[in-house]
């Protein structure tokens, strides 16, 4: 998508744009046996292989792709026919085989960690997160309260939560509130 007529103005940009993370200034927060913090997702891109091109995509990327609800290396299952490559360089050649879309700024990524993390999430997430059913590396698309959610179990008592960037404030509010209420139980 080149444009014909561009005029170089100078080497130095005239403005400096500062980056801001989605939950900047809101975290970390700790209560009871749980900690909530913001994760730097780094470069993230969705990969949706074109019809019959999954093999080609895997070859180009040099790694196998996960099954539904699973993670393989830096690639997590993201949606039907769609994967999210996190902190990974994507060769330009991949564009021949798949729809690649930059998602680096689209999601607010939080980590919820601690012995009671599962209990906190039971207040907000309507899926079965029991360790026996949702193991390390398992992931799912579901909801966090009324917000969309991609959740991955990253450890025995740790989860990565992705929701819309614009909802970062509500995300933090809802989770920290659930943490407060849980910790206040006797």
């Amino acid at each position: 998508m080149g444009l014909s007529c561009m005029i170089r103005k100078g080497v130095r940009p005239v403005v400096e744009l500062l980056a801001k993370s989605p939950a900047e200034g809101l975290l970390p927060y700790a209560k009871g046996a749980v900690e909530l913090s913001e994760l730097a997702l780094g470069k993230a891109a969705s990969i949706a292989p074109f019809k019959g091109q999954l093999d080609a995509v895997e070859k180009a990327l040099g790694q196998g792709f996960p099954k539904v609800g699973r993670t393989t290396g830096h690639v997590v299952w993201f949606s039907q026919g769609q994967y999210l490559a996190i902190a990974m360089d994507i060769p330009d050649a991949l564009g021949k085989y798949a729809a690649i879309t930059d998602q680096s700024d689209a999601w607010c990524a939080l980590e919820l960690k601690g012995a009671a993390a599962e209990d906190v999430l039971a207040r907000l997430v309507p899926i079965d997160l029991r360790q026996s059913q949702f193991k390390r590396g398992h992931c799912a698309r579901t909801q966090l309260g009324h917000m969309p959610l991609h959740i991955t179990r990253t450890g025995n008592d740790a989860f990565r939560l992705l929701s819309f960037r614009s909802m970062a404030g509500t995300m933090v509010h809802e989770i920290s509130r659930a943490m407060d209420l849980l910790a206040a139980r006797r």
């Binding site: 309507p126 698309r141 909801q143």
Partner: protein, 90 residues
Amino acid sequence: MRLICPVCGERDRREFYYMGDAVALQRPEPDAGAAEWDDYVHLRENPAGVTRDLWQHEAGCAAWIVVRRNTVTHEVLESVLATDLKGASA
């Protein structure tokens, strides 16, 4: 109420968007005539018993699915991906 998403498994109803009769899959040709189009867009059976409806796992994997369900017993009988029914190659 819980529905089965063929991709994600059993999920709470809140994750699904309800559209209506799966007749929506059988879109007529543009020249099929007024009666057929009227049928397709507007006319629906409303049976007490087994229905075949389109739902989307909107808060999940975004798959559109056809769910066979009994509106009397509330039994969920079957869930199939719409793309599978349309016989498209993946």
